[in-house]
């Protein structure tokens, strides 16, 4: 890293491996639940945009 202008915290850097593992489980179960809800027609429209930005989409993000 070239610009360490504040201390990111070593603990915070190490912990991200464990956070990611838990996050994977969280997303997996969320996804599974989504599929179940979808099957039973229980899905409400999401009022927020996806985290991913579509560069080719020219519309303004109106989140």
């Amino acid at each position: 890293m070239s610009l360490l202008y504040f201390d990111p915290g070593l603990g915070a850097m190490i912990v991200q491996g464990i956070v990611a593992a838990a996050a994977a489980v969280f997303l997996f179960s969320k996804n599974a639940l989504y599929k179940v809800k979808l099957f039973f027609g229980l899905i409400k429209e999401d009022e927020y945009d996806s985290i991913d930005i579509d560069e080719n989409d020219t519309s303004v993000d109106d989140e």
Binding site: A12, M13, A22, E63
Partner: protein, 458 residues
């Protein structure tokens, strides 16, 4: 070279460059240490895409030499800070930050910091304002701004869920974010049962505590794959998206329990509109403006600021502005009896509310159904209120509820044996005090009420 005094007072932490005033124009100077990053970001279309999407403040490059590159960012009329946001505003600011970080990764960059002050509210939504927050991504490195994201965004949001939005005011005493240990200690025990809260907060607090005294940090390098980092970003995004508050409102249903009928309500709107319209104002502020009902009824193209003490009212205003795609409405939380102070280094890193209001210099200030609260709940003498409004307003439209008004009455009754101390609360005294700072242009009783509307000019 700009003289040192022209450098913006909030802009000194990042050695990559800083904001400065060129006359009255705010510009950004990029120093050679950041040239490589800047050119790469430009080439990869990061600035273009993000500003086209309304996620990053657009800028123009004015000049580029071997010594400096100068940018002029689009002007934001008024900067609000995290401790002035409602829950939804805060939440959208957090989601925006994650979104930009994830996008940056696809382009080979990262956000090198995740400060909540990188975001402000503009044109009805949050926007990223720190153009120099990007740096190159290095293979398999964890996100160095992760902890900052937790202390500036995730922690305050989760705490607000349990304790209400007053928690955001802690950002005033902790300019670097609420410390992780403090967040962990304020969360209920059951939060440890959530894998997201356990890992992102409790475990983080533990690890930070353990490695706090580790000064040989550079010898230990933690690794994290790009995929794993994206997983963290996705999960935080999903979790924050679903966060909500369960807080009762002080004024949320105010207009349904007002002491005057619909006709009087409409009469008040018409009167105000007829006074404001001829002024051709560019900037209007409604102090204590609840959910923006009266500001909206002006039908003005001017930039509108509506503040309220009640975060729930601000929340409703913000939602309405987004729904109607109003780009000129700016809502934020403000307690007139305790406006946000100047904080940070020299007390100038984040300016006080009054400082910002004086810079903003509204053409018209409205204070409707407010003076009785300031005077009778806050015990502020009329003259002090007058001096407060005079410090930033040119035209002032202020409503004075007389003693007969039921709201005033209930505030007076609460004074119990001290009720006689408030005998000064009457029209004559009010007028006399305000005339020391303003000239009285017009006054009119709102039909069907015990309230008088005043139009003052400084």
């Amino acid at each position: 070279m700009t003289s040192k005094s022209d450098v913006h007072e909030a802009s000194f932490r990042d050695p990559s460059g800083h904001l400065f005033y060129d006359g009255k124009t705010l510009k950004r100077r990029i120093l050679p240490i950041y040239f490589k990053q800047y050119e790469a970001l430009k080439e990869n279309g990061v600035f273009d895409t993000l500003s086209r999407k309304g996620l990053l403040i657009p800028h123009k490059e004015n000049q580029a030499s071997a010594k400096e590159i100068i940018l002029t960012p689009e002007v934001i009329p008024f900067i609000t800070n995290p401790y002035e946001w409602s829950f939804e505003q805060y939440k959208q600011a957090a989601l925006l930050t994650l979104k930009i970080q994830k996008y940056a990764l696809t382009k080979g960059f990262i956000l090198k910091d995740a400060s909540a002050y990188n975001v402000t509210m503009y044109k009805g939504k949050p926007i990223f304002i720190d153009t120099l927050s990007f740096d190159f991504y290095e293979q398999d490195t964890p996100w160095r701004a992760y902890k900052q994201f937790i202390t500036h965004f995730f922690g305050p949001l989760v705490l607000a869920k349990y304790h209400g939005t007053d928690i955001f005011k802690m950002m005033q005493t902790h300019i670097d974010g609420i410390p992780v240990q403090l967040i962990a200690s304020l969360l209920p025990g059951k939060s440890k049962l959530s894998s997201t809260l356990y890992t992102n907060i409790h475990l983080l607090a533990k690890m930070e505590g353990k490695h706090n005294d580790d000064y040989k940090a550079e010898t230990k390098v933690a690794k994290l794959s790009l995929k794993a980092q994206n997983t963290i970003l996705d999960s935080l995004y999903e979790y924050i998206k679903k966060l909500s508050l369960n807080e009762a409102t002080e004024w949320g249903d105010y207009y349904t329990k007002t002491n005057y009928d619909e006709a009087a309500f409409e009469a008040k709107k018409t009167l105000i509109k007829s006074w404001v319209a001829p002024l051709n104002a560019n900037r209007i502020i409604d102090v204590g403006g609840n959910d923006g009902t009266f500001a909206r009824s002006l039908d003005s193209k001017a930039h509108l600021i509506v503040t309220d003490i009640d975060a729930q009212a601000v929340e409703q205003n913000f939602a309405q502005a987004q729904q109607n795609k109003e780009t000129n409405m700016l809502a934020f939380v403000c307690d007139v009896l305790q406006p946000a102070a100047g904080i940070g280094f020299n007390n100038t890193e984040r300016h006080s509310l009054l400082h910002r209001l004086k810079d903003y210099a509204p053409d018209v200030t409205m204070a409707l159904a407010l003076i009785h609260h300031i005077t009778l709940s806050g015990n502020v003498p009329f003259e002090k209120s007058a001096s407060f409004f005079a410090s930033f307003s040119k035209y002032l439209i202020i409503e004075f509820p007389k003693r007969e008004d039921s709201w005033v009455n209930s505030l007076l009754v609460r004074k119990r044996e001290f009720i006689n101390h408030f005998d000064f609360y009457n029209e004559a005294n009010f007028e006399e005090s305000f005339k020391k700072y303003f000239t009285l242009e017009k006054k009119e009783t709102i039909a069907g009420t015990s309230r008088v509307l005043y139009f003052f000019k400084k």
